[in-house]
Symmetry: C2
Subunit: 188 residues, 2 copies
């Protein structure tokens, strides 16, 4: 992965906005990511904020996820879920987490990815329901060089996932290891 | 959901072992859960431990999950992943979390489900790789009645997910709201 060295943040964001409009499936988005400008550790600093494109959660996908990973009655069928405390279908919290990851990955578009080190304070203050439109807002809380791996930096971030009414459906803190630019590594 | 009142833990476990042998797909397991004895808050106490059946993670499913939720190069293809720090395909941490939830739900088999309140200290000490066989061990750390919802109790638990070599691939702490037995609620 070569890096030209010019500040690419503005260009990458504009490009992302254009391309993302026609980006409806995850594998298409992965392809789009490959041609987009990649983001390195050195492009991030404490206080930076990002907002994802919106993503709709369909009833079909919500139920499909539940069958595979969280087969509980409030996730599996409209009828069964109607009899529970939620009075209707809600998404698994792990589905919210997985969709948040997808939006985070697409938005930040890290060179060689973000290696998850850990997650804390994962909460679901409001239920995620079929048809909801999710957006993820990311705030960089801290950015420091890795002591053990000089090619990498470590970021701490907060992801807040909201629905189309601005209600928060998930919050979390995470740490991730992210590749540094080559020329920055050489300067160290 | 009616409850007979007899202590059903031993019976449920034995039944589970028999049925689980022929249980290979998540939706089958959901059906199996429906006929198995359900577990209530009152069946749990601090220090209780549970161990799930094993579950194999195939390369196909690992890649499928990544395309949908975590399209990063160390999750998407064998070739791309070979060039990363992991020197081969690894599962998304959110895939580990989702599979852990499935095993947890199948093993504990809560009446009307476990409503996730939050997760902390979610960590992935070792990579989860294609073909790995996962097992989840659950320890109940605390069990108390809900102050705001008298029909429910709140449990705190630790889930440790290991591979076939006993290496820990995920650890987490979680809190969940679980339904109480009717007669126990009446006694309060």
């Amino acid at each position: 992965m070569r890096e030209t060295g010019r500040d690419s943040r503005t260009a990458a964001t504009a490009e992302h906005l254009v391309i993302a409009q026609s980006c409806t499936m995850a594998h298409q988005c992965a392809l789009v990511s490959a041609v987009m400008k990649k983001r390195y550790f050195d492009d991030l600093k404490m206080g930076d904020r990002f907002k994802s494109e919106p993503l709709r959660v369909t009833e079909k996908k919500l139920i499909e996820f539940a069958h595979k990973f969280d087969p509980q009655m409030f996730h599996l069928s409209r009828k069964g879920a109607g009899r529970t405390i939620f009075k209707g279908l809600i998404a698994s919290g792990w589905h919210s987490a997985a969709l948040t990851m997808r939006l985070f990955v697409q938005t930040l578009n890290f060179a060689e990815g973000a290696i998850g080190l850990g997650v804390d304070k994962l909460r679901w203050p409001n239920a995620l329901r079929p048809g909801d439109m999710l957006t993820v807002e990311t705030k960089i809380l801290d950015a420091r060089l890795s002591r053990s791996r000089p090619r990498y930096g470590i970021i701490r971030l907060r992801n807040v996932t909201t629905n189309q009414r601005g209600e928060v459906v998930q919050t979390m803190l995470a740490s991730a290891m992210v590749l540094r630019r080559k020329q920055q590594r050489a300067k160290r």
